[in-house]
């Protein structure tokens, strides 16, 4: 379970997150929607401590992410992350991209990590691209590679930061399909997304973030069918 309480985050004078409270239970797919600059991605970065926080607490399975004594490298293994810019490692083949962290972080043998990598690449539909370098892959394939790379750490949670926003329109589908597959397999996911169709069809819960706070959270039928807040209604009217 991921629990965020009274989270505040500032970038110098800019108060980005203004008291976020959020609970994500195991097995839940949560979509976070909202306008650009509302703090959605920052929230995600705070959850795996890629950004420091100003006040509040975030716990993952009861462990305080931002506490001084926390071994953040060990905790991050539980939190797979997929970025908007897919960030494949250009100097490594697809297989090496995925096999690297199992080997050097989980300390598995070379053979074991390659097996895991091959399995995960197969899983996301890149079984025929094991020895390709990222430069030879399309954006959609690189994003699926990034998903396989995160999965190879066998995380309990997956965080998606606008995983399809930087893709050409015709490549969005393959990445969403992969995310849908993970959701069906029962992965706990937090997806910052602009894909309202995905949020509506795949998530168990949808949170609308407005001006650094969670304006409204609930099942997709409620958020999309019967939004309670004026801000949510206005936002949805614009993106629909």
């Amino acid at each position: 379970m991921i629990e965020v309480s009274e989270l505040h985050k500032r970038f110098k004078d800019l108060h980005v997150l203004k008291g976020i409270n959020l609970v994500v239970e195991k097995g839940v797919v949560l979509s976070i929607v909202g306008a650009s600059g509302s703090g959605k991605s920052t929230l995600l970065y705070c959850i795996n401590a890629l950004e420091a926080i100003d006040s509040g607490t975030i716990t993952v399975d009861g462990e305080d992410v931002h506490a001084k004594g926390t071994d953040i490298n060990r905790l991050r293994r539980k939190l797979g992350m997929v970025f908007q810019q897919w960030n494949s490692f250009p100097h490594l083949t697809a297989l090496e991209n995925v096999a690297l962290s199992p080997r050097i972080v989980r300390k598995l043998s070379r053979a074991e990590s390659r097996d895991i990598a091959a399995k995960q690449l197969e899983h996301v539909g890149l079984g025929d691209k094991l020895n390709s370098y990222p430069s030879a892959l399309s954006g959609g394939q690189q994003q699926r590679l990034a998903i396989a790379r995160a999965l190879a750490m066998e995380p309990s949670y997956m965080l998606f930061d606008e995983a399809t926003s930087a893709l050409d329109p015709e490549l969005v589908g393959e990445v969403l399909d992969t995310m849908r597959l993970l959701a069906e397999e029962g992965m706990t996911m937090i997806c910052v997304t602009h894909e309202m169709g995905f949020a509506r069809d795949v998530s168990d819960r949808v949170a609308y973030v407005h001006d650094g706070t969670i304006e409204e959270i609930g099942p997709p039928e409620q958020i999309f069918g019967d939004p309670q807040s004026d801000n949510t209604r206005r936002f949805l009217a614009k993106v629909r």
Partner: protein, 219 residues
């Protein structure tokens, strides 16, 4: 012009000159390898270090780049000598060249580091890698490719700069040539042949560098 060329003594001493060429190559390669390691550390210190570390890095880089290489050699020779620390000629040249290489390379590396998107580091850390693992596995390999050609230049420069070793009594290629030339007074002939040896060494380095790049950078 009534100068008569006498090539015979040069050719007699050619094996010794070639051997000295290997000494030159050896000191240049060593100074380059150590200089690369120092250069990477200096670049990281300059970008991310605390104030004192940054000060050390900036001073090193400024001195290495903005003073004559010869003076840097003299520092390790006569400078330290004045304080009772006497290095062998080989060590004087090695330290001087390494100091100089590290300074120039640090600035190349800094440019390289800045060219790698910050998100590469984030992606690596998000997978649970420590900062050190991310640097060694993800960032530095990409930087080395970016600065590969400037590094090759620095390697050539190190070979040519090592000729300053002659002035601190090091019997590398130039020192050896000077020694033979002053014995026979066939100064022009000796240095002409030595120039050819330098040329061959540099061509060898450029060729190997190209082959190595071909092997290393498949992507």
């Amino acid at each position: 012009m009534d100068y008569n060329f006498h090539w015979r003594p040069v050719f007699r001493d050619l094996p010794d000159l070639v051997e000295a060429g290997f000494v030159t190559l050896q000191v240049a390669v060593l100074s380059m390898l150590i200089g690369m390691a120092c250069g990477i550390v200096l670049a990281i210190m300059r970008m991310h270090g605390s104030a004192p570390l940054r000060w050390v890095a900036v001073s090193w880089i400024e001195l290495a780049r903005n003073t004559p290489a010869l003076f840097q050699l003299f520092f390790f020779g006569f400078g330290l000598g004045a304080f009772g620390l006497h290095l062998s000629p080989f060590l004087i040249v090695l330290c001087g060249l390494t100091f100089n290489n590290a300074g120039y390379l640090a600035e190349n590396f800094r440019g390289g580091f800045q060219a790698i998107p910050e998100t590469q580091m984030r992606a690596a850390r998000s997978l649970g890698m420590t900062a050190a693992q991310a640097y060694i596995r993800i960032i530095i390999p990409q930087v080395l490719r970016l600065v590969y050609h400037p590094m090759t230049n620095q390697m050539v420069w190190a070979v040519l700069m090592s000729s300053l070793g002659m002035l601190v009594g090091f019997r590398e290629l130039s020192g050896e040539t000077q020694f033979f030339a002053s014995r026979t007074f066939r100064i022009f002939e000796y240095f002409a042949v030595t120039a050819v040896i330098y040329y061959v060494i540099v061509k060898f380095i450029l060729g190997s560098s190209r082959l190595l790049a071909f092997r290393l950078f498949r992507y």
